[in-house]
Symmetry: C2
Subunit: 279 residues, 2 copies
């Protein structure tokens, strides 16, 4: 039997989803089915969702789990009254925080613009992120080599190790300018760092992956090609890793990692600070 | 006086940051300074961070706020003993969830691979996201028009309204294939939908922005250009919005929104479901 889960938010729903996900994977015995409801910011919208929750509870005889990150108590109390197992994330932590900080939270006095600092800071962060994403796109796959001087980090690796999504994610999430350069067989056979990278050795970060996994990924793209052949993958990866060690390029195995994990581990290893402040 | 905040995680730290941020912006009277410590997955690493926390508490005479999303209690109890105001996110919610679900959480019995479902699902989600990010890049700024048939959504708007980062984010976060097409002055003067878009009218979603803001953003890129001139921005936006209304293209004002908010609102309005399941 599936247990229904509602992630509720007055913003994008990201916090409710991330937190809820981390909690619920702790119960692998149970199969959950989730739905995210973003921008629940009026009692009327909450009323419609409460009706959905009640319907689900009635039909399945198991009350849904609700992970609620709505700030406005007038809205969230509508949800609380529905037939659900209710986790009110903000209320749980705000009272103890108020006591610790010795001030009341804005929680009680209105509807603050959450996730927003003063508009100047937000503007700068927005610009920085946008610029960094555009940078990742413009410096994807070895194009525009002349902008490497501007890069915070340059990802290298054989085709389909995750360079492009990681570069873009570094820009999007951290405001970091990440270029990337594909190590193609011609590069690898020279057993030398490609000339374009020689001046930027300290910015390099290598990606690697298990050959079997790479072969699978490449087969999805070009089935039964020489490119996807396991032997090809084994050779390319071995040559790339030899290169990394030879030039002391730090590298990371992406086989078991999500894009978020690759990016976070890379920054930690490279000692690079985020450009966009988290707070 | 600044109050120090530690976001601790055994994974990327995203959940701790998002949740902590949402809580702390409720206290605009207080200035916080945050640091994120990802991959805290051994008691030894926790010990080093506990020492940092104690040092900070000692030097500033105000104990730091700690938002802890570490699953392994052996690790988190090291933090708990340090001189901090301690929010243990998982422990707070896991016990009530155990009672509701009638089973014990994996919390107590080891160290599960959080954020991972079974490996097949993860693989598929990874592929889907990677493909969608590559799609966004390949279909950025009106290139490769022939792949519009494959797109889930096509973003249109004048230069610098946020099309590119939003397209990439839709791929990254939701696995949705988003193309984008810039409305350049030549397009706008015809007062018609560009020919390349005519066959895909139902997939279109417009972006708009306040002219003053657009002018600021464009000045950052090309200072004192005709392109950045306020008058130019006013005209382009007016023409674009007229076009949206004429062809009944849904559109969104991005002036006050983060990339995450633009993406989430867009999907809600367009009724598009995420391709990558959140749970």
């Amino acid at each position: 039997m599936k247990r229904k889960v509602f992630f509720l938010s007055d913003s994008t729903g990201m916090t409710a989803e991330n937190l809820g996900r981390s909690l619920l994977v702790q119960f692998p015995q149970i199969q959950f089915e989730s739905v995210t409801k973003p921008f629940v910011d009026t009692p009327e919208k909450a009323q419609r969702i409460a009706a959905e929750i009640n319907k689900e509870a009635h039909e399945t005889a198991a009350r849904p789990i609700v992970i609620d990150t709505i700030i406005d108590q007038e809205v969230s109390k509508v949800i609380e009254k529905s037939s659900c197992f209710y986790i009110d994330v903000f209320s749980t932590f705000l009272s103890p925080l108020e006591a610790e900080l010795g001030v009341r939270s804005a929680h009680n006095v209105g509807h603050p613009a959450i996730f927003k600092e003063d508009s100047r800071t937000v503007d700068q962060a927005y610009m920085q992120r946008i610029d960094a994403v555009h940078f990742a796109l413009a410096n994807d796959d070895g194009m525009h080599l002349h902008r490497y001087a501007e890069a915070d980090i340059i990802l290298i690796g054989v085709s389909r190790t995750g360079k492009t999504p990681t570069s873009v994610y570094l820009g999007m999430q951290y405001g970091i300018k990440a270029a990337n350069y594909p190590l193609i067989p011609d590069d690898l056979e020279t057993r030398k760092l490609p000339a374009a990278l020689a001046d930027h050795q300290r910015k390099l970060f290598g990606l690697t992956i298990r050959a079997g996994r790479l072969s699978e990924i490449r087969h999805e793209r070009k089935p039964n090609s020489h490119y996807a052949n396991l032997r090809t993958c084994v050779d390319e990866i071995r040559q790339a890793e030899t290169l990394y060690r030879q030039y002391r390029v730090p590298y990371i195995d992406t086989t078991q990692l999500s894009i978020e994990e690759i990016a976070a581990r890379m920054l930690q290893r490279a000692g690079i600070e985020r450009r966009v402040a988290s707070l």
